[in-house]
Symmetry: C2
Subunit: 224 residues, 2 copies
């Protein structure tokens, strides 16, 4: 497994770099998903289960972005998917140039789906377009249902909100309806899934959405 050391990209426009990268990925038929959440919301655990379920249908790779360590990339490789670990030189997010370099580190093999597991952070990653075709955010039940009020940009920028760790709902005061209402106030079209990687609840719907998104991306139709 490769570990790459990245530095912030010095460029005139991250937005333009992201558009160019998105266009290139579109041509290749590769959907890049930018997966964002707080530390410990369950990004890697969601990916482990999703990859296990879909690896016979889709060619999937994962780019892990962290300030340090390679524990997540090792977990992904342990289930047989290609992974690369990107270190962000202390930075709290990935930009389009860093994402491009991480993609290059994956090599030339074609993938249907590449997931960028962004740095654990509900603020900075939302401010930088990485070139992804879809942005997916996770909010775990233990974090609380008030998070859309405090981190509005993340909820506004995401195509999908996945509420994770629903198996522990009985032990926390988390009102799913209130949370979804707050998220929809910021982003009326956000798709919401509620899942538990422990018992598998909700994974069918999320994986169905993901497969359709990959298919739509390849067919160059507008995805939902």
């Amino acid at each position: 497994m490769k570990i790459i050391e990245l530095k912030e990209t010095v460029t005139a426009s991250n937005d333009r770099d992201a558009e160019v990268l998105r266009g290139e990925l579109k041509k290749k038929g590769t959907l890049l998903v930018n997966l964002m959440a707080s530390p410990g919301a369950g990004k890697t655990t969601l990916l482990e289960r999703t990859i296990r379920d879909l690896k016979d249908e889709l060619r999937i790779a994962v780019m892990e972005a962290d300030v340090d360590s390679d524990v997540d990339a090792v977990r992904i490789e342990n289930i047989g998917a290609r992974a690369v670990q990107a270190h962000t030189d202390g930075m709290c997010h990935m930009d389009a140039g860093m994402t491009r370099r991480a993609l290059e580190a994956l090599g030339d093999e074609p993938f249907d789906l590449v997931v960028l597991e962004n740095v654990g952070n509900l603020i900075c990653p939302a401010e930088f377009d990485t070139g992804a075709g879809k942005c997916v955010m996770l909010l775990s039940v233990p974090e609380g249902d008030d998070k859309p009020l405090k981190y509005p940009l993340m909820f506004s920028k995401s195509d999908v909100l996945i509420i994770t760790k629903t198996d522990v709902l009985p032990y926390f005061d988390f009102d799913i309806d209130a949370c979804v209402q707050r998220a929809r106030k910021l982003n009326p079209t956000i798709r919401v899934f509620a899942v538990s990687a422990k018992n598998g609840d909700g994974f069918e719907a999320w994986e169905e959405w993901l497969k359709t998104a990959v298919l739509n991306w390849k067919n160059e139709t507008v995805t939902e």
Copy 2:
């Protein structure tokens, strides 16, 4: 309750500004604690219980820093403590100048302890000295025991690590010993407390430490 809108401080040296602020607070006998954690780790809940327990012994105020909303400051005022809500203009941390302006918004009343509840984030807040006398970080059980590996600077910069939500230990794979070992590898002198705000476990030890820290700060002896 006051809401103040802050902008990043433009200054030659944040470190110097922080030293000046720390000196001023020392003269006043006010201990400023910089409380840092991921979103949803339980910062406000910890403060609510701590303030309830100590408000007859210490004059306490809280500065809530968030990108948006005032839910946390309202919670603190509901238990009868002075609070101010600072909005960070999208920024992921507080610097020394922002902290100074938030302190000014608290007014002239003397306090023994002022807690800055920093923006929910395990990366950026660790990079900026706020002028605090003590840095305290929270890591909640649901976030996982691997966090010292991924966010080393936060663990290195903190005087105290509080492991929160220990009441849900049975439902998560969280190894306290492994976590503490990882934290101590980065920071051999870090003090560790494990608490549950739901059942009160561990609060006595944490509050004892906090009272001693306030006392030591006032007496100008070196705090432990």
